[in-house]
Amino acid sequence: MKKFSKISVMALAGLAFAGVAAAETIKIGVSYPTPTHAWAAGMNWHAEQAEKRLEALYPDVDLVLINSPDPSAQASALEDLVSVHGIDALVVLPFESEPLTDPVLNVKKSGALITVVDRGLSQPGIEDIYVAGNNPELGRVSAQYMKTRLKDGDNIVVLRGIPTLIDNERFDAFMAEMEGSGVNILDHKHANWNRDDGFEVMQDFLSRFPDIDAVWAQDDDIAIGVVAALKQAGRDGDGMFVVGGAGMKETIKAIMDGETLVPVDVLYPPSMIATAMDVTVAAFKSNGPVAGRYILGATLITPENAASFYFPDSPF
């Protein structure tokens, strides 16, 4: 059995190699979770856009997009990409790190170039290229903006996401940056990156604290709930402002239009999948080296630069 699988892996590697040698098409598999929330839907849209753009640019590049509803389906999808499509490179946004580390390793054994997006694998050294957003930077950039607007003795509240590593990284970096600024962080609660929870948690913060000067909502969905609660309580004036994050198109549009309640946004772009696809194609086309780690910046989106992050056709 073991022998057989070894032979088959070798055979597949041979096939993949033959594909490159014949200089026909460069096949690149792109695997990511089925979009079930807005951010992932935006990622799906950007992946499709990048596929069209890259295939038009390079007629010999063939991108295969596959989304999977759960980790085991994604593992099977990776097997299919190797056995059916004989891919030369894989761009993968793993559902979860742990269960997908081995499947990705198997793809690597077939000889394919591996690009991992956003979520790292649990074993180092498998991926050739790593592309990810910067969660601590998102917290830090948000805090830096807060400090430009607030003075000693001002009060803010924080709404966090779903209790996860991502949320902790953002929150810890935010708190570290705020330290020593003299701004009081009254309390922080989880609003689960969800509009309804953002609304309810903010309502309770407003009942509990009579003096709040600003809100860090960390995420654009939470920010929408927060804004509704502020308007309901009539506390959206007096220089109150809310900082979200991610780069939802409605939020960016509002920033372009000069909205004062949500004056800026901090980017954690779903379009990072397109960056990963570009870099992977460059590995075959560029004369420069591309392997390495690409950590995207958490850009502060202001009315001045908002237009370059606005994609009206994307679902996010």
Binding site: P35, K189, E200, L206, S207
Partner: protein
């Protein structure tokens, strides 16, 4: 024999005080006491009004769930149903803008659509359970998945947002007050009264209880079991559509994360209120208190930083178990018989 010796002690427990009925009310009062002790702003007019309005969603759905559970069924699809109805309402209203403008007509079309969908979805659950002879748990587990993925599909994985001008017309349904109480609370009150009358003062209510106690006996007693059971799911669907009608104007959007776990909150509210999960006994009043208790727990946890955020679920779980144990525990009986 044991039954006969036990029965006389039952009403006398705690000097004639019926712990079973008053349990949920006592639990709610204790919670309010804790809330006030933590922060006097808990009893401020604003917070009470927020609390009641928030309870309205789960409360209205739970009134419907009381009928389903009393008749021995279960409906797991309500959260997804609310999400898909909210999504379709938004699509329909946005689509109706061109023909009917951004006035009250469009909002009414949306609401009408919601009610038709709610009744229809409930009827499908009911018919599949009764005529299809499939367990309610399986049917509604299936429809739960179907509705959830439908709303994701309609929203293209993202979020459906209501046209901004209609939002202005529709907004008061959630945010305005009448006689000091927000409109969603009025809807909750009306639904509760109708539910109470239907369950306690009509033949239909008695049939529900009878079917939940023993379906075969109910069948032999010439009760149209299939029809009554289907009706309970239709009532549930109607309640979901009413809850959705007051939910949509709040944030004017629906996505795949709308109404997640509402089914479990509604079932928890019903059981905290004293209704028996296996059917045969239902209490609307208890259900309302159950919904209030659930919302109050979340509210209190937001009012304090004494408990780690990560333990919110633990607190909710503990309070739910204690609230039910207060009514079910055998401890009252033992002290009396000694």
């Amino acid at each position: 024999m044991t039954e006969a010796t036990m029965t006389p002690t039952k009403p006398n427990r705690f000097g004639g005080f019926d712990f079973k009925t008053a349990g949920p009310a006592i639990a709610l009062l204790i919670l309010c006491g804790i809330g006030f002790a933590l922060n006097p702003a808990f009893l401020s007019e604003g917070n009470i009004s927020n609390l009641l309005t928030r309870s309205a969603f789960i409360g209205i759905i739970a009134v419907g769930a009381t009928f389903v559970i009393t008749a021995g069924g279960i409906d797991l699809s309500v959260g997804s149903m609310a999400a898909v109805i909210a999504g379709v309402m938004i699509i329909v209203m946005n689509g109706a803008v061109d023909t009917f403008g951004t006035g009250v007509t469009t909002v009414l079309i949306g609401c009408g659509c919601s009610i038709i969908l709610g009744i229809g979805a409930g009827w499908v659950n009911g018919v599949l359970t009764t005529k299809g002879k499939i367990e309610a748990f399986i049917v509604t587990l299936g429809t739960m998945g179907i509705y959830r993925s439908l709303v994701t599909y309609f929203a293209d994985g993202g979020t459906l947002s209501l046209n901004y001008d209609i939002r202005g017309v529709y907004r008061p349904v959630y945010y305005d007050s009448f006689g000091g109480l927000p409109i969603p609370v009025w809807v909750f009150i009306v639904v509760s009264i109708c539910g109470w009358l239907l369950l306690n003062r009509t033949a239909f209510g008695r049939y529900c209880t009878a079917i939940g106690s023993n379906e075969s006996v109910a069948q032999y007693s010439a009760i149209k079991v299939d029809r009554i059971k289907t009706m309970t799911y239709v009532i549930q669907g109607l309640c979901v559509s009413l809850a959705t009608i007051i939910y949509v104007p709040r944030l004017g959007s629906a996505s795949s994360s709308t109404g997640v776990l509402w089914e479990l909150e509604a079932i928890a509210a019903v059981i905290i209120g004293g209704t028996v999960l296996k059917g045969g006994y239902g209490r609307i009043g208890g259900t309302i208190l159950g919904a209030l208790i659930l919302t109050t727990i979340g509210n209190i946890l937001n009012f304090t930083d004494m408990i780690s955020n990560y333990l919110n679920g633990t607190m909710q779980g503990l309070i739910i178990i204690i609230a039910v144990w207060l009514q079910r525990g055998d401890w009252g009986r033992k002290t009396k018989t000694d």
